[in-house]
């Protein structure tokens, strides 16, 4: 199973990069001309994201820099102490939605501190692997198309993150 999945992730991109134009050629598409036509938009889209990403990441950077993130996790710790949620993982669960590099650093640190085969280490790795940096995705996706009113996107995504975090802890406690 693992070998099959590894092979897919290794070969998916090269096969797609050749397979898509191959089918185009077979259907008499002027593949290079069409490629250039679509590719022209790439620069504009990437540049359009900049203000949205700067806005979100600066606010999160200030929040983390001030130490407010540590206060938040300290405040939540007693609340979660009554549940099965391991207090060591609270900072990760919160930071995961806000900062990709920050949560990667915390996860790596937890794995080193508690051991790569420990329950905490594995749960941390699962938690990192089972979520995306929600605020980054929102900023990039909506920023690229200029949508400012995101409606229920943040509450729905944060709810799903919370459920995934709880599921991670429960599944890891059960499996390991």
């Amino acid at each position: 199973m693992k070998a099959v999945l590894d092979a897919i992730s290794l070969w998916a991109i090269p096969v797609m990069l050749v397979g898509i134009p191959l089918i185009g050629i077979l259907r008499k598409v002027k593949v290079y001309d069409v490629f250039i036509d679509g590719a022209k938009e790439g620069f504009g889209v990437a540049v359009k994201i900049i203000p949205f990403l700067v806005g979100i990441l600066v606010a999160i950077g200030m929040f983390r820099g001030s130490g407010a993130m540590d206060l938040l996790t300290e405040a939540l710790r007693p609340l979660l102490a009554r549940t099965i949620f391991p207090p060591e993982l609270v900072p990760l669960a919160i930071l995961r939605t806000l900062s990709g590099s920050g949560s990667l650093a915390i996860t790596t640190d937890l794995i080193k501190t508690y051991g790569a085969d420990s329950l905490i280490g594995r749960t941390a790795a699962t938690m990192y692997g089972s979520s995306e940096t929600t605020f980054y995705v929102i900023a990039v996706y909506f920023g690229a198309i200029g949508v400012k009113k995101t409606r229920h996107a943040i509450p729905a995504a944060l709810f799903a993150d919370l459920v995934a975090a709880i599921a991670t802890v429960a599944v890891c406690a059960w499996m390991f």
């Binding site: 185009g24 700067v54 699962t126 995306e132 229920h152």
Partner: protein, 204 residues
Amino acid sequence: MRAMLNYIWFALMAIALVVAIFNGTADAVTKGAFDSAKTAVEISLGLIGIMTLWLGMMRVAEAAGLVSLLGRALRPFSRLLFPEVPPEHPAIGAMVMSLAANMLGLNNAATPLGIKAMEEMQELNPDKETATNPMVTFMTLNTSGVQLIPATMIGVLVAAGSTNPTAIIAPTLIATAVGTIAAVVAAKILQRFYPEPEAPEIEP
């Protein structure tokens, strides 16, 4: 509620200032702001190459009829998840390709394809500044995305000397599957409480 991001954005910075007053961390706040601004631009500029590549490839896939083929093949799913988007619309094909790339952990492909899908859905949007239901559903599917191979974490575990680094594959799969179901349910329920985008009234 309508402009939630405005309040979250301001609150993050205002809280940072208040905490900095008590902690004496003003310099760290300044550094956090400037470093993050730099990181944001580096991320965006880093996207230019892959964005250009995938948008070009997507155009070839469209011209070859692959995108609409994918859309037709997955009609049962798309009708359930994105009833507002016509099954033959190029948005469906782009969404499917983005979500598939996401599942395989191919972030370099998932993000450009996802943005392409958002652009396609924006074509159907009467009010270009307000998110539509399918946009939000797609976005939550992306942030909660099912992971077949948590490649980054397996790498970290290997580096840390794990005897069984792939042990996390099954729990990650289960946790993301649960998260994805929660995402769809939350998006579908919450969308009723937020007014859908309407075409702006034209002033006489």
